[in-house]
Amino acid sequence: MTVRVRTLDELLTPPAAGSSALSTQEYFVNMGPQHPIAHGSLRLVLRLDGETVKEVIPVPGFVHRGIEKMCEKLNPRQIIHLTDRLDYLSAVMNNWGVAKAVEKAANIETNGRIETIRTLMSELQRIQSHMLWWGVLGMDLGAYTAFLYAFRDREIISELFEETIGARLTMNYVRPGGVMFDILPDFQEKVKKLLKYLGPIIDEYDTLLSGNVILQERLRNVGVLDGKKAVALGCTGPVLRASGVPLDLRKLTPYGRYGDVEFNVAVGSKGDCWDRYYTRMEEIRQSMRIIEQLIDSIPEGPVNVLRASARISIPEGTYYDQIETARGVLGVMLVSDGKSPSPYRVHFRSPNFNNLWAVTALAPGWRIADIITIQSSLDLVIPDIDR
């Protein structure tokens, strides 16, 4: 298979005449890399006819740090420390993704306590991530208050992480063969208190933003992504599920403790921005359900099955494993030569990279303001795109 690489110059066709009866012309404009909508540095080249979007060309790469290349010089335990810089809102889940792949490759068996703690932390992080997305969506649509409400409540989860893990954003917690630290004695009590607090808070979010007529007008029927197109684009996570495809690795190939708990996969019917919005709101509630079921049944046992200094040797071969992060499927591919402690090649299949290209399919025909809505509903984290 050959892949033809096209440059931006090739993609940019000379502006055509506009559709208006007046003598008008289409024009190009850069949205980003320095633009309030680009939460990070993402450049979108827009071809516009007045307010109407004709074409969107994403130009990623401004936050490229060469993480995959760096991983080739590090041993599996060190790789963990780079993964939280991929999708910084799913740090623990990214850690887990690599740990899972390494454990599969090196045949490491973990115990129930480790898996439960990992699951709990991941779900807490999913709630936290979706909360931030909710606030940012509000801010993008002009409702700044939502942003600060989200941050107010996110703070409680951040403090919980800070206590246990020592970091609030770039958390290195899950590692091959266990987790870094055990949970504190009052962790369960605090999580229960948090759940009690979150229930009414999520309902408050619904009253503040979900029921708002302007928000509904802005989201409903905007940027409809049908299931087939979503699969073709490689979208995963809430974006894909909102289009009616119930792909959730937690349900499909249960890992951690997901097989032991009851929860529903939130699925949309239409694939418009509103479905993506409500899928995530529902996922927060489902995550709360999962935590509720697990918080009282954390088994006893060590939190590490390996000594901290134990060498993790991956036999020669190619290994792939995947995990459901807050934004979709994070795939980790490891190629090992069997000799060196560090992998020969590491590749991350990041959910945001694939979700980003949905913008190109969804935005044309809509207004400038809808690009913001669509991009916000895709919930992109730019560093995960560029890696």
């Binding site: 509000g138 409702a143 600060l148 302007i214 802005r218």
Partner: protein
């Protein structure tokens, strides 16, 4: 002055015994009397008062907005500069004054420099005709309502010019949005305002206030007054580019919209104009629908009415204006913003037909003295 005479004064003022005396009339009288110095003092006081009003209301409103926003959002807002941060806006103003004034190289310089002043001027001119109290009004034009509509429409020139001369595509889009939006919503605002003109039978703002002696138009106009009040508030919120109608700025869409390329003092002119505009439209709403400086009276409750009369008219005006300002700020910190086509839909297909029907109904009510609802205040 004893308490009895104060009460007498207040009651007399409320009953219209004290006719409006504007500053311009006083000046003319002083000229006629030949006391040049007094006339000049009046002019200086009027101009100084306007300048003080612009500066003060700008500073106060920006502070109030920040504090209100903060408390809507479960935080404290400015707390460091002065008691509860009351000097924060002063500090910010000084910072803006000291900032470099950047003009883009490819910008149309003359227009770029002119635009903020046009925006500001339109706003300040309206302040001159607002009746703040029976004795406090710079000048009362007999076509006051028309003047206000015409002059506030002038403000869009500044925005259009600013966006166009910046030579920036985002600014341009913002300016075009502003032009379409402000001109469209002016129609609804004017239709709503005409209802009050029909009922009061005058275009002079002072006379419109006087006509509400027996009750404010918001409820005395038998329902149509309330409808036009709502239309007016929505339309003026759009006219002054406040959320949910702030698409000309739309900071998440257009960077900063029409003032993307402005910095320092010139930016602060646009910024200040926005806040003074809020004061102006709230003052207009209070004048037209809420009785301006008239105190709140309930039918034959002489005791209650007498007590209300004790509150000076300026405070009544300020209070009513503040309520409307609070409403507009509340909108901003609650609602997301509309999309450009939804905005146009709201105006041309919703507000405008309702406005026309409402105006027609008002005309019928006034012409045939039809009063389907009992008049609350005789």
């Amino acid at each position: 002055m004893t308490a009895t005479s104060l009460t007498y004064f207040a009651i007399a003022a409320a009953q219209g015994a004290f006719k409006n005396v504007t500053v311009s009339e006083r000046t003319a009288q002083a000229f006629a009397d030949g006391s040049w110095i007094l006339a000049i003092v009046y002019i200086v006081v009027a101009l100084g008062g306007l300048a003080a009003l612009v500066t003060l209301s700008g500073l106060v409103l920006i502070y109030v907005e920040r504090k209100l926003a903060a408390h809507f959002q479960c935080r404290l807002g400015p707390m460091r500069v002065g008691w509860h941060g009351i000097f924060q806006t002063v500090a910010d103003a000084v910072k803006l004054l000291l900032k470099e004034d950047v003009i883009p190289e490819k910008a149309d310089k003359a227009m770029h420099l002119l635009a903020p002043f046009l925006s500001m001027m339109a706003t300040v001119m309206v302040l001159g005709v607002l009746p703040y109290s029976p004795i406090l009004q710079i000048t009362d034009i007999n076509i006051g309502v028309l003047f206000v509509t015409a002059v506030s429409g002038f403000g869009v020139m500044g925005i259009l010019l600013g966006g166009w001369s910046s030579n920036n595509k985002w600014s341009m889009v913002g300016a075009m949005r502003a032009g379409a939006q402000i001109i469209s919503y002016e129609i609804s605002a004017t239709l709503a305002l005409l209802v009050v003109v029909l009922f009061s039978g005058s275009l002079s703002l002072a006379e419109i206030v006087q006509s509400q002696d027996a009750g404010w138009w918001i409820w005395r106009a038998n329902g149509v007054g309330f409808v036009s009040f709502i239309i007016f508030v929505i339309a003026v919120t759009a006219e002054i580019n406040r959320t949910p109608f702030d698409i000309p700025e739309g900071e998440s869409e257009l960077a900063a919209g029409f003032h993307t390329e402005y910095s320092g003092l010139r930016f602060s002119f646009f910024f200040l104009a926005e806040f003074i505009n809020m004061f102006v439209v709230s003052g207009m709403t209070a004048t037209l629908f809420l009785g301006g400086w008239m105190p709140f009276h309930i039918g034959a409750w002489a005791g209650f009415n007498g007590f209300m009369d004790l509150i000076p008219p300026v405070l009544w005006f300020t209070g009513k204006t503040s309520v409307v300002i609070f409403l507009i700020m509340w909108f901003r910190w609650t609602f997301p913003r509309l999309r450009v086509d939804q905005l146009m839909y709201l105006e041309w297909k919703v507000l405008l037909p309702i406005g026309f029907v409402n105006l027609f109904a008002a005309a019928v009510v006034v012409l045939y003295n039809l009063y389907p609802f009992p008049i609350l205040v005789p």
